[in-house]
Amino acid sequence: MPQSTRARSAARAAVFAPLDGAGRAEVVERRLSDAILLGLLAPGERLPSEADLSRQFNVATVTAREALESLRGRGLVQTRRGRGGGSFVRSKSDAHLEVIEERVRGISRVELRDLGVHFAALAAMSAELAAERASGDDVEGLERLVASFARDTDGAARRAENTFRLEVAALSQSARLVRELLRLQAEFGPVLWLNLRDQRYRDRSAERQAAVVTAIAAADPAAARRATLEHIDEAVECLVDAKAELEARSP
């Protein structure tokens, strides 16, 4: 029932969706670390207990424990004992940035561009359909949402990007598009929006979102598509530049 004026908890729900297949501890770890990097799990927030994680992901308790240990090892969570204890998201943004950079290094340029194409396809189609299908109320809601975004840190700007994409996708009226975008955002989101470290790109992101909203308000699918593609292309180009720079710094 609860509708999607704020996409955040939706994305969070996807974070804890049950898993099947091999390498479960790694998948649990990846999901949680991506959620932390995306800011879906906020600094200081308590993660579900091992028992709850194992139930939600549908994995063995020992698998959940293994994933938590590895997150601890990477400095993303810390564990406090006793009453009110548990695993908490650490607030060290440097550690977060390091983890993102490590991922950017680990993904080939070919794969980065391919992820960019996949993401752009989903986002552009969402924007196009949203422009055809958004009602006046929807446009007002979207304008309010964009106006409410904080963009003073990279974490806040990333959250704004993810929330914005999901909200536009929801306006497409396609449940499949929304689900695909949620999945891809969890996989690729933290990496794609690396450029939001830079305030210049955070301002740019606000401008681009405004352009998409204007196109949706004008019921102009072609313009909505164009503004979306330009924005994502730009993020991908920044990303491959950043990767080249990282590799030049320490090959």
């Binding site: 029932m1 609860p2 509708q3 999607s4 004026t5 704020r6 996409a7 955040r8 908890s9 939706a10 969070r12 729900a13 996807a14 804890f16 969706a17 049950p18 898993l19 099947d20 879906l40 799990l41 906020a42 927030e45 939600q56 549908n58 055809e132 299908r133 009602s135 006046g136 109320d137 929807d138 999901l166 996708a169 929801a170 497409s172 009226q173 396609s174 449940a175 929304v178 689900r179 949620l182």
Partner: protein, 256 residues
Amino acid sequence: MSSVAQPFSEVAAVARPFASVLERVEAWHESLSALLGSTGGNPTVAQVDALIESLVVPDLSERDTLIVGAGFVCAPGFLSSAPWHLSWWLGKFNSFGAIGRGGVTRRLEASEDPGSDSFRDYTLLEWWRVPVESGMPHITGPYVDYLCTDEYTLTLTVPVYHAGALVGVIGADMYAEDVERALLPALRAINGGATLVNRVARVVVSTDPHRATGSLYREEGLLATLKSLDTLAVRNIAPVLWGGTSLALLLELVTA
């Protein structure tokens, strides 16, 4: 409310699936009101949850039900020990968060702590806002509900009052595809064809296969007609407006 075309039996048949869901919701509403009465409007969280579970779980388990999620959402501050309380259950056919599992009726886990990042002020959402403003049952959607059903959904909600004060909304979720299956035969029985739209003229289901569910029915003057619940100002389309549900049935007029 004025309506142009008199409701006739074919039109009533279209309303039936929604009417039966509304009937269930009103039955829960009555039991909840009884609890509110017996507790002087001051039930405990446990009493509310136990009652709602006992009411909605049997309906969610029915074989042919349209209801895939149901429950009661408290007005902020109504329960003093749980200021933002959701007492909501998901049916076993509800696929939300159930990849590779599913098949069980379960409670929706929602954040009730306003300080938490996943907390959402549900009083801003249509399924809360509209029925609370109108005091009437309201059908929200179709919309992509990726917070609760993960599907293309319609939500029927009814405001609940005690001693004149709002205490929450009670309601049920339906999948758009189930609604399509349930309504199409009745729509097809209408001579000339018909399209069911919501208050923003979004198509719920149509006899015209090219009018996609979720698309907007764009027709000069239609939005104003739907908004004012006023008489027909639309060429070739006769809207039959249903009291309370905020849906309208657009009948394609057969011109001789």
